[in-house]
């Protein structure tokens, strides 16, 4: 733990991420104003003591919306990542442990899913079941599956040839147990690093999907949906796009810095070509 905390970029990124997460969590129990409270006479207010970040085109308090939106963004990205890890990692480990036809099948499957960028998957899902936050989760989740499968397989392949795995096989462990006891713990760090990257990509994708109306729907709110709402008035009231946009940028930078720091901390070898911790 102490070793991990000696990496400044990891600490900065992690603290910033947790800060945003805390703001999002807080919105579940308290926001300055109810997020659905429409108050037309009070719209387009500049930041003031009563409304720290001003009000939007419907007179809703921007700070409250940002808090709730941050939570939606985190939630969507996290569940999508869980889908990717939950399906992708077992697939990747199975490919490494069994090899042969299983590996071939997993590789072809990942190739195939790569042909469906999240936007295309979201279009198909929306056509099927209509728009909603669940679409964004499923679409991003599907896209995460091959990413984690590839990372898990790649990491596991380099371990599968080591002596302790061979010893495990001699002791009579089957492929399932080999994957579970020996491969999984050793690829865990790779998965965690990839997880932070996919979190930040997930937050960006959620914003994009909600912005084009295929993700979160009102009265729920998300950072991307706030940008969509601001779209029609942003030439006159640029402030309404600045706040959610900057919020997305800061969260994503925080996650990326945390991910880079984590990678350096877990595997110092990767750092040699990369002395610049911020990069």
């Amino acid at each position: 733990m102490k070793r991990l905390l000696s990496h400044p970029s990891l600490v900065i990124g992690l603290v910033a991420t947790l800060l945003f997460l805390a703001i999002g969590l807080l919105s579940l129990v308290w926001t300055p104003y109810p997020i659905a409270q429409i108050d037309i006479p009070r719209r387009f207010l500049a930041p003031s003591a009563a409304h720290w970040l001003g009000t939007d085109n419907l007179g809703r308090d921007m700070l409250s919306l940002i808090m709730a939106g941050t939570w939606t963004s985190f939630l969507v990205a996290a569940v999508a990542m869980a889908i990717g890890v939950g399906v992708g990692v077992p697939l990747g480990l199975a490919a490494a442990a069994w090899g042969g036809p299983v590996e071939w099948l997993v590789l072809r499957l990942t190739d195939f899913v790569f042909a469906f960028p999240a936007v295309i998957a979201a279009i198909l899902i929306t056509t099927l079941i209509g728009p909603g936050a669940v679409n964004a989760i499923v679409a991003i989740g599907i896209f995460n599956i091959p990413v984690f499968a590839r990372v898990a397989r790649g990491g596991a392949l380099s371990i599968a040839t080591l002596d302790f795995v061979a010893a495990g096989r001699l002791a009579g462990l089957g492929n399932m147990l080999i994957a579970w006891r020996h491969l999984l713990p050793n690829v865990m760090s790779l998965i965690i690093v990839q997880g932070t990257i996919q979190m930040s990509l997930g937050i960006l994708s959620e914003a994009g999907l909600s912005y084009i109306g295929l993700g979160t729907q009102p009265p729920e709110t998300s950072l991307g949906l706030m940008l969509k709402d601001a779209q029609s008035v942003f030439l006159i009231h640029p402030w309404l796009t600045m706040v959610p946009g900057l919020c997305i940028v800061l969260i994503v930078i925080a996650l990326n810095i945390a991910g880079d720091g984590l990678r350096d901390a877990i595997d110092p070898r990767l750092r040699q070509g990369n002395p610049n911790v911020l990069a």
Partner: protein, 317 residues
């Protein structure tokens, strides 16, 4: 090489076939009868049945799938229910916006990203390197559509250099169309250029430690010459893979960015098709997107093997 290309091409065809099957099956599952939808709820069962026959909906699903794929191979994507025009024609008209936009964005990201990456690698650990990498780190984190909004505020509203949105058809005024695509392509290119700069830097730093660079130095080349003649060429390999993937995601990304600038691209065609339940159109447009993505990956694979002969021999990817 021929064998390699052939194998890759078969993989490509198989991917497309499965994708077509998935899309067909998904959209076939949809509740609601398109014929009923077109005629409205007051239509008599008779006229609905007649339209179903006319649209070929009475034929069993496997047969419809085969005739759909067969039609597409001949360039016939069917007729749109709502726009009463051939789907191929509608998509083609929209691709005239979407494709140039993706290509411009790609070119900009290469022209900006690669030199910056090379520069950062050459000045590794110096202030310039840090500055470029911090910029790239920020560039990756900025949603392209939000960057598009910022560009509009600065260059269209503030400086009034470029139009804030809309699109003039190519055959009316080519210069105006081009101007309309400048801001959207910049918006799309920013994150891509940032990624390219980072990949290029890492690849070049990796390569610089290799023996052949030392050999080149021993031969009397300066470090700059050695890196330029031997390093950059080798470092381009990983960059090439990323480029292939990026083009695919650029095409998908245009769907989001064209919204900021009110461009009549493929994305807007798809939204209207979804909201009007024009399934034939949704089906055609998604398959075109998937063909673009998969074909780009195929071309990247082949280009990669052309550049690096070692890859041709390997049987498993």
């Amino acid at each position: 090489m021929i064998l390699f290309t052939l194998r890759r091409f078969l993989g490509f065809a198989a991917t497309l076939l499965v994708a077509a099957l998935v899309i067909f099956w998904l959209l076939d599952l949809l509740p609601g009868d398109p014929a009923q939808f077109i005629l409205g709820i007051n239509a008599t069962p008779d006229s609905v049945a007649r339209l179903r026959v006319q649209m070929g909906l009475d034929v069993p699903a496997p047969e419809r799938f085969v005739s759909w794929v067969w039609g597409m191979l001949q360039g016939d994507f069917g007729m749109s229910y709502t726009q009463r025009a051939p789907v191929a024609e509608l998509i083609w008209a929209r691709l005239a916006v979407t494709l140039p936009l993706s290509i411009f964005a790609m070119v900009i990201s290469i022209v900006v990203g690669l030199p910056l990456g090379i520069l950062a690698a050459r000045r590794r650990g110096k202030l310039l390197d840090t500055a470029i990498m911090v910029t790239a780190q920020t560039g990756v984190a900025i949603p392209n559509f939000w960057f598009g909004m910022l560009l509009t505020l600065v260059f269209a509203v503030g400086l009034r250099w470029l139009p804030p949105g809309g699109f003039t058809p190519w055959n009316e005024d080519g210069w105006a169309s081009l101007r309309g695509l400048i801001l959207p392509s910049l918006a799309l290119a920013l994150p891509q250029a940032s990624i390219l700069a980072r990949v290029m830097r890492t690849a070049l730093v990796d390569v610089t430690g290799q023996d052949y660079i030392r050999t080149a130095r021993a031969k009397g080349l300066t470090m700059g010459e050695a890196v330029w003649r031997h390093g950059v060429r080798n470092a381009l390999l990983p960059v090439l893979t990323i480029l292939g993937l990026q083009f695919a995601y650029l095409v998908a990304g245009t769907i989001i960015v064209e919204n900021v600038f009110y461009l009549p691209g493929l994305g807007r065609l798809i939204y209207t098709a979804i909201s009007e339940r024009d399934l034939i159109l949704v089906r055609g447009a998604t398959i075109i997107l998937i063909v673009t993505v998969t074909a780009t990956m195929l071309l990247t694979d082949i280009a990669y093997a052309l550049v690096d002969p070692r890859l041709r021999e390997r049987s498993t990817p």
